[in-house]
Symmetry: C2
Subunit: 153 residues, 2 copies
């Protein structure tokens, strides 16, 4: 997603950010574990302005519930590949102990990432929402298309 | 990138991880700033088993050089969209003050992300390299193709 010099990044409004978040199914969670950052890819769902994901006991769960804020990021390309965008949500994470709270939402078709028990649901309540959009140079666009197997030279 | 229950995640070897890292141009950096995690999308280059990125002064640079380890993540889909993968590198980050150290590497065609001065180069020296590959369910594959505008029903 390299950006050409002539095209500075645009800041997205909160509304624009949430449009991207609602369309995405997959993002990256950053948590602090023992004083260092960890990143996990997660499937997620949007529920009333919060992000919910499902996980089993482990580093991801312990890190998310450590009491420190977490950060959650999604990114992608627009359809025309003329721009790329990135949205970051930051806030606290809490364990959901009322399972019905989740099941009420039709949005929350959360696939498990791997086999095994994934019986914890965690909710991220964003306090800060930031997003940026970048125009993409022609050279970078060719790299993206190459990565998708759609461009050869 | 949801994963079906029948298909547990495969752990990637270090060699497999680095094959993905060398093919990627873009990833996400997680750093700790004031006790909370931050995530930044970055362009990067591989240089002799390290990851190098370019940045200006700011939160990203300060966080990377805070003395805490950093985490760096890339992910993607295989060509057939039958599997997804994620690689995380963790280690320390240092500021490069010898510019020629960078310019020696033909790999390091680092595009700036936005206009303005981007005169700091930071090197991540991974101490831990982990990667996972996930088989993707048919339902998830349709979601991916929809996201790319290649699938309608």
């Amino acid at each position: 997603m390299p950006i050409s010099d002539e095209n500075p990044a645009d800041h997205l409004t909160s509304s624009q950010c949430w449009t991207y978040v609602r369309q995405a199914k997959f993002g990256r969670l950053a948590v602090i574990v023992d004083g260092h950052p960890e990143i996990f890819p997660i499937n997620f769902a949007v529920d009333h302005g919060t992000v919910v994901f499902r996980t089993a006991a482990g580093t991801k769960l312990a890190g998310a519930l450590s009491g420190n804020p977490v950060a959650f990021e999604i990114d992608g390309y627009d359809d025309t590949l003329s721009s790329a965008w990135s949205v970051v949500l930051k806030g606290g994470a809490t364990l959901l102990d009322d399972f019905s709270e989740i099941m009420d939402s039709e949005e929350l078709a959360l696939f498990p990432w791997q086999s095994g028990t994934r019986n914890a649901f965690v909710r991220i309540e964003p306090e800060v929402t930031t997003g940026r959009r970048f125009l993409i140079s022609n050279a970078a666009r060719r790299n993206v298309l190459r990565g998708m197997g759609l461009y050869t030279e």
